[in-house]
Symmetry: C2
DNA sequence: TATTGTTATACTCTATAACTATA
DNA sequence: TATAGTTATAGAGTATAACAATA
C-alpha cells in the first residue's frame, strides 16, 4: 500500500519545533536554485547531443574553435575554465571526426593553433541548433525579455571568477 | 617570453571565416551561463563548508531534516533529486555527528523517520550562515530586487523537472 | 623560469543493479 | 508488485603531478 496521508504523523507535522530562521531556508538560497536549474539544463543538453556522440563540453570546445579560429588549446582551457589535461581527450574526439585541424605556429613551436574545417563549422551549427532547441524548451515559461535578464544576472554571478584569475 | 600580441597572426584574426550565426553563439546560450554561475557558486559553497567537514549536499540534507522533521530518507531523495543509494553515506556522517536521530515508524516498518537533535538544528543554522555569507559575496553585484528576480527565473527553469517526475 | 601539450592517476559525484524486509 | 534502506560497483567529471620540448 501507499497510504501517505496516514503516515503523516502528528510529530512529522509539528513545525513548531522548526525555528523560524531556518524554515524554508534551503529554498531561499539562490545557489540552491542555481544548482537545480543547471543540473536540469545539463541533463537536457546531454540528451540533446547524445545522438551526435557529443556532450555539452565537446560542443563548447568546438564552438570555441569555430568562433575563434587559431586559438590554442591552452587558450580554450582558460576561457572555459577547464584543465589542460582534460581537453586532450576532447580534442582527440573532435579531430578524429575531422572537425578541426592543428597547425604548428611558426613563431612559437610549443603551441598548436586550432582551425575548424568546413565540416567542423557545419557540425558546430548543427550541435548548436540541437542545444538551442533544448534551451527553447526549458525556457518556454519565460519571455524573451526575461531570458535576457536571466542571462544578464547569471553573468553578474560568475563575472567575479574572471577577476579571481589574477 | 609571453608576447601574445605578436602571436596573434592574421589568420587567427580572420573572423570573416566565422559565420555570423555562430559568432558568439556559446555566450548567448543561457545554459552556458547557468553552468558557469553554478560551478562558481558551488566552488565557493564547498570552500565555505570545508572547515566544518561538510559539503553543500550535506547541508541540504540536514536542512531538509530540520525543516521537515519526520521526513524519511526516500522523501528527502525525491525532494533533492538524489538517488537513495547516495544518501546513505551522507546520513551516516550526520548521524555520527549526532545531528539527527532515526525513529522507526510504528505503522510502516520499512521506513525510518528522521528527526533533528538540538545540536542538529544549531549546526544547520551555523552551516546556513556560512553559505549565506558566501552567497552575499557572489551576489554583491546585484540589488535585493535582482536577487529575488534571479531566484524566480531559476525556479521557472527547473519547475518543469517536478512535472517530468510523473 | 614559465608555458604548452601530454600522460598517468586519484578522487569525487552520480547512476545502476541487486538484495532483504516490508507493504 | 511496489517501496525503503542498503551494499557494491561502474562510469563520468575533474584535479594534481610530472614530463619533454620550447620560450
Amino acid at each position: 500500500m501507499n497510504d501517505k496521508t496516514s503516515r503523516t504523523t502528528k510529530a512529522a507535522n509539528d513545525v513548531s519545533a522548526v525555528p523560524a530562521d531556518i524554515r524554508e531556508a534551503l529554498g531561499e538560497l539562490v545557489g540552491y536554485h542555481l544548482r537545480r536549474a543547471s543540473v536540469y539544463d545539463m541533463n537536457g543538453a546531454v540528451a540533446a547531443l547524445e545522438p551526435e556522440g557529443a556532450r555539452p563540453i565537446t560542443m563548447s570546445v568546438l564552438l570555441s574553435i569555430v568562433e575563434h579560429p587559431g586559438r590554442t588549446s591552452a587558450d580554450i582551457c582558460r576561457t572555459l575554465a577547464i584543465k589542460r589535461a582534460n581537453i586532450v581527450a576532447l580534442l582527440q574526439v573532435l579531430e578524429a571526426k575531422g572537425l578541426f585541424r592543428r597547425a604548428d605556429d611558426p613563431a612559437d613551436q610549443r603551441i598548436q593553433r586550432l582551425y575548424p574545417t568546413p565540416e567542423g563549422i557545419e557540425t558546430a551549427r548543427h550541435w548548436l541548433g540541437l542545444v538551442q532547441a533544448h534551451e527553447a524548451r526549458i525556457l518556454q515559461r519565460m519571455s524573451q525579455k526575461e531570458r535576457r535578464e536571466l542571462r544578464r544576472l547569471l553573468q553578474l554571478v560568475w563575472a567575479d571568477e574572471a577577476l579571481d584569475e589574477t
